[in-house]
């Protein structure tokens, strides 16, 4: 008899993804679904997808989901969790969404220690709208709104949300991972599981920042884009645990 080594997670609908070939959103979706299955959360969880490439996430996750206004995921999740504390609530947000327009909502939800989990997809661009600069865009990187390369004097610096949010007392757990290699993907999954566990334990705000390839807007092949994360992104956005109130040490 054939023993399954890897099969499609149950909470991932059988719909083909609309994402571009090699896109990190697809991997992130699958990982979240695997964790949902393994932790038995499918009937408990409510997800908040954002405007962004992942706007149709509800077509893939077979769990209760509600669209949110751009950047307001953390506020919407706050509303759900306060109204129904027994639920498990996660937001799924892009970097434009979370670190741009949603800066205030994210910071204050974290500061209040809202007992929610945020899956934060950092792909250094606004994917859905066609590759504009994101708050996380690297210096010198060309995007459709930084055609001359992001000049930090005029256009600012890449913003490091995991580092900033880790300063807030309401935050229980923050880790930055990447979905660009088998090893990193495994670590990412562990981080997601940990983040949900932190929520189940009522410890406060948890977030997993996922460095995620966007081959289309980076104008790279999928393989090159996966490599580029190691070559360029992790230098600015180092991987690791930024805050973990469940551990004595906060080292990786």
């Amino acid at each position: 008899m054939m023993k399954p080594v890897y099969i499609r997670p149950k909470s991932l609908k059988r719909t083909p993804f609309h994402y571009c070939p090699g896109c990190g959103h697809s991997v992130a979706h699958r990982l979240v679904c695997e964790v949902i299955d393994e932790m038995g959360l499918q009937e408990l969880i409510i997800g908040i997808p954002p405007p962004g490439c992942s706007v149709f996430a509800y077509n893939y996750f077979d769990v209760d989901m509600a669209e949110s206004a751009h950047g307001r995921g953390a506020a919407v999740a706050t509303g759900i969790k306060r109204a129904y504390p027994e639920s498990v609530v996660f937001t799924y947000q892009g970097d434009g969404d979370l670190a741009g327009i949603g800066t205030a909502e994210t910071i204050h939800a974290a500061n209040r220690g809202e007992n929610i989990t945020t899956i934060f997809i950092n792909n250094a661009v606004y994917g859905m709208t066609g590759g504009q600069m994101a708050p996380t865009t690297l210096r010198g990187m060309k995007t459709t709104t930084t055609p001359y390369g992001r000049d930090h004097i005029l256009e600012g610096h890449p913003i490091k949300m995991s580092e900033i949010l880790s300063m807030l007392d309401g935050v229980a757990y923050i880790e930055r991972v990447a979905v660009n290699s088998p090893a990193n993907i495994r670590k990412a999954k562990k981080a997601i599981a940990k983040a949900f566990q932190v929520q189940l334990d009522g410890r406060g705000f948890s977030m997993v920042e996922i460095l995620s390839p966007c081959p289309t807007n980076w104008k790279m092949t999928p393989i090159k884009s996966w490599q580029w994360i190691d070559e360029e992104m992790t230098g600015i956005f180092p991987l690791g645990v930024y805050r973990d109130v469940t551990e004595k040490t906060s080292a990786d």
């Binding site: 070939p21 896109c23 149709f56």
Partner: protein, 176 residues
């Protein structure tokens, strides 16, 4: 005279630049013209398409619900758009990639093995120009000279590519 042409295919096949080229050519002829890309911008992958309307008179709508001409560069487009063509219209098929059977009898089908010809010319990426050449000849909607004039303008930044594309255009034009 109001002629609407819809060009459809995969994202990478250059369907938008084909439409743009056609539109610029019409503008050079002093016609009224609109060019409208389908902007499913918030969703990736799949097909791309655009509509070009050319007219002596003002153009009411840049959208084509029943275009006179349709160019289908790939199989999904051929399947999807065959029902949109106006009765009596021309359906240009990239026969290198399209295998679908066309079930309508009231339209004329023009098979252009665009990829094949482009490959034969040594550059598979110019299949769109082969098709545009064939379209120019068959549709008669614009002059070949204006199409190449427009092409020059569009490629003004990438002079190196001009020759290749011109050659493909001619190859298509001379197909019929």
């Amino acid at each position: 005279m109001l002629i609407k042409t819809l060009v459809a295919g995969f994202g990478g096949q250059g369907v938008l630049s084909m439409g743009l080229n056609l539109a610029e050519a019409a503008m050079l002829e002093g016609k009224n013209v609109t060019y409208l890309p389908a902007y499913g911008a918030e969703v990736r992958g799949g097909t791309a398409n655009c509509t070009v309307a050319i007219s002596d008179d003002e153009i009411a709508s840049p959208v084509a619900s029943s275009p006179e001409f349709v160019i289908a560069m790939n199989q999904p487009s051929a399947v999807k758009f065959q029902h949109h063509i106006q009765s009596g219209g021309l359906f240009f098929l990239n026969s290198s990639l399209v295998e679908a059977e066309i079930i309508r009898g009231d339209i004329e089908i023009v098979n252009v093995p665009a990829n094949k010809i482009a490959e034969d010319l040594g550059n598979p990426r110019t299949a769109n120009m082969v098709m545009l050449g064939a379209f120019t000849k068959k549709s008669g909607v614009v002059e070949l000279s204006n199409v190449s004039e427009a092409l020059k303008h569009i490629l003004s930044a990438k002079k190196k590519l001009l020759d290749l594309n011109e050659k493909a255009l001619l190859a298509g034009y001379n197909l019929f």
